[in-house]
Structures are given as C-alpha cells and as structure tokens.
C-alpha cells in the first residue's frame, strides 16, 4: 500500500465504512441463496448417481466382452485339438509306428512307389514282412497292419467326433456374428441405460458452467503388457514329406511340426494421445511386440555354414532338412506395431475408465526358432520376398483403461485388452494361415502436457 498517498480524504471515507452495516431485511436474499444451495445439492446427487450407473454399465460391457472372448477361444481350441486329416499333405499321410497315423488303405495299396524305390537299397535292415518304405503300403497280414487297423479305428472315432463338433458349431450362429451382436448390444445397452435414467427437471440436466472438467488435453505415455497368444493356425500339425528332394537322408520317418495351443506375448512401447472432444480421445504410438509359441518338431535344417539348426515344417525356405528325434522349439515372432485408437471416456475424473478401439499396422521384423534345450543353433527368418511371412499386416484392437491421476501431470493405468490379426501372418502362397489373437494386461504411465 502506498500510504503516503492517502490523506485525510481517504481516511474520512475509510472511517465512514469501517463498521458499516445495513440493517434492512435479508429474507429475500436468503430465500434465493437457500434455493440455489438446494439445487446444487440435487446436482451433486445426480452426478453421483450417473457416475455409479456409468461405472456399472462399463463393468457389464467389459464382462460381456470377456465372456465373448472366452467363448471364442474355447471354440477355436475345440476345433484345432483334433488333427485335421484333410490338411495333411496328400503325398505322405502316415508315420509308421505313430499312433496318430492316418488310415491306411486296406489291401496294401501302394502309393508314391516311385519316390521310394531308390530308398530300398539304403536301409534294407528296416524292411520286414512286406513293409514298404513308401510309408503308405502294408501287407494286410502283418502285425503292423493289425496295429494300423486298431489305430485306424481310433482315428475314425476321432474323425467322427470332430464331424459331430463341426455339426454342433453349424447349429450355432457364427462367433463373428455373436461378437458383433455383443458389440451392438453393448453399444445400445449404454444408450438404453442412459435413456432409463430417472427424469430430472430441465434445470438439473443443464451443465453447470462452473462444472470442473478434466483438463488433460495432450499426453505421452510409456507402457508394457504381457499375456497369452493364440496362434489360430489353420494347421497346428504339419507334416514334411520324406523323400522330397531336400530330404538329406531320406529317413523312414516323416518330419512333422506340432504347435501348442497357446503361447505368450509381451509388448512395450510409447504412445501419445489427445482429447478432441469432451469424452473422445485419440491415441497413437509405436510398440514392439514379441509373440512366442511352443512347437514340437523332429526336423533339422542345414544352414549356409553347414551347421544344423532348428526347423519347422513349411519354414525351411528350401534348405536341406533331416528328420531327427523330436525336440521342443520356441517360435518367436518380433513385430513393430503402429497402433491408432479412438477412446471413449466413460469416467473422466481422478479415477478414469476409458474404452479404446482401433487398429494397428504390424511390420514383421523376424521369426526365430529357438531350441529350448539350447543344443541346436537358432534359425531366423526375416521379412522379404522369399519369406513365408507377410511383411505388413493389420490387427484390430480393443481394450479398456482403468486409470488413476497422480497430481496434475501424471496418470497410471491398467489396460486389459485384445488384439486380433485381421489377416494371416503368413503369405497366401505359403499354404499356412494364422490369425493370432492376443489377450493381455498392460500397465501404462502417462505424462500430461496440458
């Protein structure tokens, strides 16, 4: 204060008002204040009711999505656990001594005889009682024929079972339709729930100009996620034809690769986001994906340095192969993904709940086949014209984000979600189809710029 400027004039005025009071009626003023306080209390209660209703709606939606995914997974596993005879290469449908060998034609019909005629000379010690190295011909009187007949019966029962499963599936609507119906239901459920809110007077429905809104407009975040990886392979078991030109020693056994039903996946990456309306946000970024699936294989391939390395059926790139004792392989796909998602803020407070959906562009980096015992050298397949893997593919994304704001600048989130490849990771000419489904739970740390 600049007291030296204040003289007698100012002092007179200040003294005149120092304890001044107006004793007039204040009832009218209090009535208005009372009314406004009551309205404010009603709005607070309404906000609280709407908050819990939206939270309930979001929980129901998330539960429906989780159930739909669980149903979808169980359907896929049911259809892929039984071997698909139709998917086996026609030239070599049997593995002698293997219980899962397909049915042999009765009467010892020879097949692929010309391929195996040269092999008789190599391992004569293995032939016995009319057994031919073609692996598809057996004399009906041999012990092997009896064993195969028994195996055949078991396989027939399995085929019949699979056909019965297929028939049951046909009786139910396709899962894709169920999923879309779930999405439709969830979308319209939210609208229906909103319309079922109790009717409040118009004054309560209007947004108060003093209502505080979340000021987060632009942010950057880092995150990581881990979960399960379902390959959804068209042929989880694949067979390698013995006697093919690159079969090194043309052993009597045929090569095969059998995948596990479920693998593991992890992701980490960076993203940025912005809020472009009161409830809608847009997020994009870049992620590193690592998807690992276990295989059992009995193939080894000879690489350029003349060393034996891991191999799977259909992924030998024409390298010489040999059949060996089965061993466990981890097939690891490494991908760079560029996701783009739109999100809807269901709860936009210190606690936040957001639903995100979008798509990602996946750039395939490489596939590594790693011997779990560590004995064999790993083989690596990159992208390119000679690779069976598609260089670029697209995936659909769906996740929810439960978050908590720390201070003014930070927000931490838990992000459970789904990722489904919209096209196969393999090229169409490779003969294999795989549309992986990843379900994971992630953790995200966000820095809010403004």
């Amino acid at each position: 204060m600049e007291d030296w400027e204040k003289g007698k004039f100012e002092k007179e005025w200040r003294d005149a008002f120092v304890n001044a009071e107006d004793e007039g009626s204040t009832e009218a003023a209090w009535k208005n204040i009372d009314l406004q306080l009551s309205q404010a209390e009603g709005k607070a209660m309404k906000r609280s009711v709407i908050f819990y209703q939206r939270l309930a709606a979001a929980s129901i939606l998330f539960a429906l999505i989780s159930v739909a995914v669980a149903l979808y997974n169980s359907t896929i596993f049911e259809s892929t656990t039984t071997p698909s005879l139709a998917q086996q290469p026609t030239q070599n449908r049997s593995i002698p001594g293997d219980k899962n060998s397909p049915k042999q034609p009765a009467g010892g019909v020879e097949q692929s005889d010309q391929l195996n005629s040269t092999t008789d000379k190599k391992d004569k010690g293995r032939t016995s009682g009319g057994y031919r190295r073609s692996n598809v011909t057996l004399a009906t009187s041999s012990p092997q024929a009896t064993a195969f007949a028994q195996t055949t019966q078991a396989l027939d029962e399995r085929v019949n079972y699979r056909q019965a499963v297929d028939q049951r599936l046909l009786n139910y609507p396709p899962l894709a339709v169920v999923e879309s119906q779930v999405n439709l239901i969830s979308r319209y459920r939210e609208v229906t729930l909103y319309r079922q809110l109790p009717a409040f007077p118009a004054s309560y429905m209007a947004n108060s100009p003093s209502k505080k809104s979340n000021k987060e407009q632009v942010w950057a975040s880092v995150g990581a996620a881990a979960g399960t990886f379902s390959p959804n392979l068209s042929s989880p078991q694949a067979y390698f034809s013995a006697g093919m030109p690159n079969d090194i020693d043309a052993s009597s056994r045929s090569g095969y690769s059998k995948s596990s039903d479920v693998g593991s996946a992890y992701t980490f990456g960076f993203s940025m986001g912005t809020k472009f309306s009161k409830r809608w946000v847009m997020q994009g970024g870049i992620n590193y994906l690592n998807q690992s699936l276990g295989y059992q294989s009995n193939l080894q391939q000879l690489d350029a340095s003349n060393q034996y390395s891991t191999a799977l059926v259909g992924r030998t790139s024409g390298q010489p192969v040999k059949v060996t004792t089965p061993y466990q392989i981890s097939s690891i796909n490494e991908i760079i993904s560029v996701p783009l998602q739109a999100g809807y803020l269901i709860v936009d407070r210190k606690f936040g709940f957001q639903l995100n959906t979008g798509f990602a562009t996946d750039l395939f980096l490489r596939n590594s086949l790693v011997d779990e015992s560590g004995q064999l050298k790993r083989s690596t397949e990159g992208a390119g014209s000679s690779s069976p893997y598609r260089t670029m593919s697209w995936a659909g994304l769906l996740n929810s984000e439960l978050s908590y704001r720390i201070g003014d600048r930070y927000r931490v989130s838990i992000v459970p979600g789904l990722r489904y490849s919209l096209n196969s990771v393999f090229k169409s000419e490779s003969g294999s189809v795989s549309n992986p489904l990843v379900t994971d739970v992630g953790f995200r740390f966000r820095y809010i710029f403004r």
């Binding site: 400027e5 200040r14 008002f17 107006d22 204040i33 306080l37």
Partner: protein, 186 residues
Amino acid sequence: MHSEDELIKGCTKGDRAIQKALFDRYCPKMKVICQRYAKTTLEADDILQEGFIKVFANIKDFRQQSSLATWITRIMINTALNFHRQKLYLHPMVEVEKANLAEAEEVSLSVFHLNELVTMIQSLPDGCRIIFNLFAIEGYGHREIADMLSISEGTSKSQYNRAKSLLKEKITNEQKRYGRLGERKV
C-alpha cells in the same frame, strides 16, 4: 450464538440452520460492501447472493489464516470484481485527463448518512467506483489495483483522481444545498 468454529464446521457439513446463522451474522456488513461496488441495489443483491454461495461452497477449504469476516469480505470483493470484469473488458478503463485537484474546503463526511455516502459512490462511473473502493476504503495500492484489474498503474491513478474529484464536487454540492456544515443530517 455460534462460535466461528461451529459456523465453519456446520457449514462444511451443509447444515442449513448453521448456514443461515452465518448469513445472518455477516450479511449486514457484506451488504454495504456489495452496495459500494454495485451501480444499483439489484446489482448489489446479485453480488451478495453469489458471494454467499461461493462462501458456502468453499468454506471447507478455509484454513483460518485470517478471521472469517476478512475471508468473507475478500470473497465478496472478488465476486464484485468478477461481476464488473466483463463490463471493464467491453469498456476498458483508460487514463483520463488530470482532474482538477485543487483542494476544496474542508469536508466532513460525518454530516452524511451512510445511505447518502453509498449513493454518492454508486453515482461514480464503473471504473472510478471500483478503483475508489479498492484504494480509498479497502486500502490497496495502485500497483496492486493495476495487477488485479489488468490495467496500468497510471490508469489506476488517473481513474482514482477522477473519482476523488467527482466525489468532492458532490460533497460540496450537497453541503451547499443543505447549507449546513458540521451538522449530521436527519
């Protein structure tokens, strides 16, 4: 009679009876403050009601670093300033020509009723009235006023001098009209 702590606790809980008690205790004084800043009685009532709504909404954050009366007064003044901010935005205050500050004859405000003094202040232009209240009665300096109202210090000084000149003129006219000096008006 409720103590200050009881009033604060009751209002924080939303007890309507305690809120009424607080209103009854501080309303008479706040009403005068609002009348000083408003142009009309209606405007003063609006500022008063809005001010008390803010008091009840924010009383849970009152840290008792000053008395409750001082805190409420500050809220009322800020409410009044917000009320006029839009007007001041549309009609910004500018520096005015230096008013004739020739010393008038000695005046004594004790001859005037409180309502008359309020009426004199209300008759001032908006900018002059606010700056006069802030400088002469609330005790703010011109630099502080300039920061509060986003004006220059020079504008604050010139507007105040104009207010002072107008008030002195009114006081002189009233005194001449009634021909009494040193006697309180009935």
